[in-house]
Amino acid sequence: MAIVESGREAYGWSRPVQCQKDRIGPDAMRGGGEIASEAEVRHGLSVTLPRLWRYGFVLSRQRDWADDLVQQTCLRALERHGQFQPGSRIDHWLFAILNSLWLNEVRARRVRFGQGTVEAETSLEVDGARETEAKVLAGQVMRLVGDLPEAQRAAVFLAYVEGLTYREVAAVLDVPVGTVMSRLAAARAKLADRMSDGAAK
């Protein structure tokens, strides 16, 4: 299929970062440019905080987990500000950090500590989101998405809510584009079935 003709490596942000390190070298990374870069990352975080939180909430389906995820994302991004490539999409870079933290640390830790299981949480809902018809519809769409398996939910959110291209979604999730396509197709089939069944009514 045309969309997957390139290898996945080209889409990840980790690869260009490695190239940058090799080129500049560790000593040069400590120069004055690092301070500017931290400021840049800090600013990027600042303007992206609500969207990061929303992604954290979509993944975890819990407000306090979303808080956790954003806080850890900030910490990790500041720690690794030298890895951010100026000129690239900082919001996507931050989404990728948050996603990785979710998969590798937060979710695993919470499950291990018995502080809740990931599979059986409540649906995505916003307090008081049932006041008007528009909000009712919004709530239905969120519930439909919230009922999807986590991997599909993340892909749907990034592609259809955040408007990322398939390749950008693949980079954030650190998976091949083909995997993104599979997840979106499976999600679409499921959502379409539910719409046809009237499950969303």
Binding site: M1, I3, L49, P50, L75, E79, G163, T165, A187, R188
Partner: protein, 277 residues
């Protein structure tokens, strides 16, 4: 998708989804359009999958509006990038102290039961008041803050000791400080126990229990024997580190870490309720 024939049976949902999402390259898209024209089954499948083209952006807007933006911004503002923090917060005049402590850490003094001597700053103004005044009373906060400024996540990257090992480490603190610490009593909400050891402050034993908070990094609970008036938890910030401190009838205690003061205070309150000092 290997089918490059003129008349493939039925495109996969992946391909149809990419078509609906405008992600197919032009040539493939044109061929699929042609197929939809000719094959009602393909058209029906596209129509079905298109039912999932919902107003996602609008639907998730309210969620964006409920994000605790102000809290998150405050959290970010209070956050210092760890590699920069340790040096950035130490005034020039305190290099000597800093170096001494750094050397201790480098020499492996952080191992259990070894004695780390926390030096005074040598700052005359702070040390002069030796009669129990408020500056003197809180002087140790500053010394602990400088010491904790050296800690990074890596310092505490080890595993959490088992319950018995924790008990043994705490027992080593209990006798010199006249305490009765247990792993349960010193538990800090949301943080993982790392080690308990005795430091020395002003020739007095100082209990230091370190934790790794996955959210904020290193935390420490420090206890000093200091009879006085019982006081509830108060908070301050020193060198970019938050400190929540309180007094029992026989000891002074503090919890220190790089997180918002009110978050730290909440943890301190939880510990205070369990800790007999």
């Amino acid at each position: 998708m290997t089918g490059e024939n003129d008349d493939p049976p039925m495109p996969s949902d992946e391909e149809l989804t990419a078509f609906i999402d405008g992600e197919l390259e032009e040539e493939r898209r044109a061929r699929l359009l042609d197929l939809i024209e000719r094959d009602p089954a393909v058209a029906a499948r596209v129509e079905h999958l298109s039912r999932a083209s919902l107003p996602y952006g609008e639907a998730f807007q309210p969620l964006l509006d409920t994000a605790p933006a102000a809290d998150l911004q405050r959290m970010l503002d209070g956050m210092t990038a760890p590699p920069v923090a340790a040096n950035a917060v130490v005034p020039q005049t305190r290099r000597r102290l800093f170096g001494a402590i750094a050397a201790s850490v480098a020499a492996g003094v952080l191992g259990d039961r070894l004695l780390v001597r926390l030096f005074g700053t040598g700052d005359g103004d702070e040390l002069a008041d030796d009669d129990g005044g408020p500056d003197r009373e809180h002087h140790w906060h500053g010394v602990v803050a400088q010491y904790m400024g050296l800690y990074t996540r890596e310092t505490l990257s080890g595993a959490t000791p088992g319950h018995d090992a924790q008990s043994a480490q705490l027992a080593a603190l209990n006798r010199p400080l006249n305490l009765s610490l247990t792993p349960e009593a010193v538990e800090v909400p949301g943080a993982e126990f790392r080690r308990a050891q005795i430091l020395s402050y002003d020739d007095m034993p100082l209990a230091q229990i370190t934790y790794l908070d996955p959210r904020s990094g290193p935390l420490a609970l420090c206890i000093l024997r200091r009879p006085g008036t019982v006081r509830g938890v108060e908070q301050e910030v020193r060198g970019g580190l938050s400190i929540a401190y309180w007094n029992g009838s026989d000891h002074a205690a503090l919890l220190i870490g790089r997180l918002p003061p009110h978050d730290l205070t909440a943890k301190a309150e939880a510990v205070r309720g369990r800790l007999a000092i």
